[in-house]
Symmetry: C2
Subunit: 210 residues, 2 copies
DNA sequence: ATAACTTTGTTAATTATTTCACAAAATATA
DNA sequence: TATATTTTGTGAAATAATTAACAAAGTTAT
């Protein structure tokens, strides 16, 4: 539950909206003009009611008897998610994972992009990966303020993650995507999302044991 | 809700159990012998009641007036999650991300390990990354059957992910950890977990707009 | 133009998950 | 030994999220 209204959307709704956007963009590429919630349901493993309800929290985007126009829904979803403006992202830790992240950046994805990378190792500093300059972590605060960056990806080793987090918070970062397998300690107003591959594998293993 | 009982645990409970395990292992390393749910709460941003209830679905592991012994809780959590046996994992797609995954394997993590890697590119086949041999994807089914592997990580490009998934399912794989930004179509009995960095970034951006 | 379909948007009902509240158990203190 | 303190484990209550049901709106066929 995100707002305090009686009838409001869940954090899961937001996660699903991002999935909808991604898939509607693909539908456009595939030449699909209009889809119904029923078709979406089969494509995305989400019930048609769920899909319609998720959208209904933000407005009326479909046409009864017809469905949803892919073009206009992409526009609306971007507006809802705040992707009608460009978002710069910082990355700290240009090791194996960090490098993979930088290299796999899809430059057709215009709205969200890692534009500043940082490392503490002399071997990496001032190198360029996929066109992105690697700065000395020493200059993190200065560059974050300068570029007005609000989001940071952390891919440093476990035992440096909290120190980097503290620096990020101190520098005005408001949201963190964390790959280190540790729960970060942050002030209440900072958003953190953890991506932990081993936890995820363990979750799958649990279900295999049933 | 996982079982059909009146009072049963949620999928989120399982995800948290994996986080508890990870952090209790760390506590042991740090020489901590006993912790209370209150202390855990501060460490992991989970309410003490949540922590206690999550465990209570599986048994009584604490000592009233005292707390939880780290050693014995790790043992119990491993048993609950099915990690008291070794799990072999396959990886398909040894590109940038796949390579990072192979290289970052921590060999002290004894229970879950990628032991077979596959690619379709001649340049990669029969090479070795961090001691793991890269097989031709052609031999996937044979090797999976041979090694009795039940879990597969997919890190191939978007437009190959469904084909690899179909091959995996056909080969008897029961759980998939998918990094490609696409919702995979699988039979009901196959477990899929998606890790999508861009969806996660977009979710964070949504909350920055509030 | 009307009737038969299709599909959305939304309220209400249901189901799921978390939080609360407190008894039971263990320990520490006096 | 008795009392105060701590902390667990757990039903009951509260909150949250999903699903169901259906009226409203649009389309297609006759
Ligand atoms: N590689 C993966 O596939 C993978 C998967 C899951 C999780 N992770 C996690 O992601 C993190 C990174 O993994 P990796 O394999 O890329 O490690 P890595 O050792 O290859 O890279 C870490 C990088 O961080 C830099 N670094 C260290 N301390 C720093 C600091 N204080 N400030 C700035 N930079 C700093 C190092 O110089 C290095 O370049 C780890 O926490 C790991 O557990 C990685
Ligand atoms: N690199 C990242 O950090 C990152 C982050 C998020 C998501 N992803 C996703 O992970 C996937 C891989 O990304 P990447 O950057 O490593 O790509 P990549 O192109 O570097 O690597 C893909 C690898 O898959 C292999 N491959 C292709 N088709 C195959 C098939 N049918 N069978 C076996 N192997 C096959 C290729 O030969 C290549 O080695 C993509 O779907 C990407 O969107 C990557």
């Amino acid at each position: 539950m995100i707002c305090t209204d009686k009838n409001c959307f869940s954090p899961e709704t937001v996660r699903r909206l991002a999935v909808y956007l991604q898939n509607f963009e693909r539908l456009i590429k595939n030449g699909v003009d209009v889809v119904s919630s029923g078709q979406i349901s089969k494509l995305l493993n989400v019930s048609p009611e769920q899909f319609r309800k998720d959208l209904s929290y933000f407005g009326e985007f479909g046409k009864r008897g017809v469905g949803y126009q892919t073009e206009s829904l992409v526009y609306e979803l971007k507006k809802i998610l705040g992707l009608n403006q460009a978002w710069q992202v910082a990355l700290v830790g240009v090791g194996r994972l960090g490098c993979a992240l930088l290299n796999s950046q899809d430059f057709s994805e215009l709205n969200v992009r890692i534009t500043a990378a940082f490392d503490s190792d002399k071997k990496n500093i001032d190198k360029t990966v996929n066109g992105i300059h690697i700065h000395d972590i020493i200059n993190f605060k200065k560059i974050i303020k300068q570029k007005k960056i609000r989001i940071c990806v952390i891919s440093v080793p476990l035992d440096h993650a909290q120190a980097v987090t503290d620096l990020a918070v101190e520098s005005g970062i408001e949201a963190i995507l964390n790959f280190a397998p540790v729960i970060l300690n942050v002030p209440e107003n900072i958003h953190v999302s953890n991506m932990d591959i081993y936890c995820e594998l363990e979750r799958l293993i649990f279900f295999l044991n049933k």
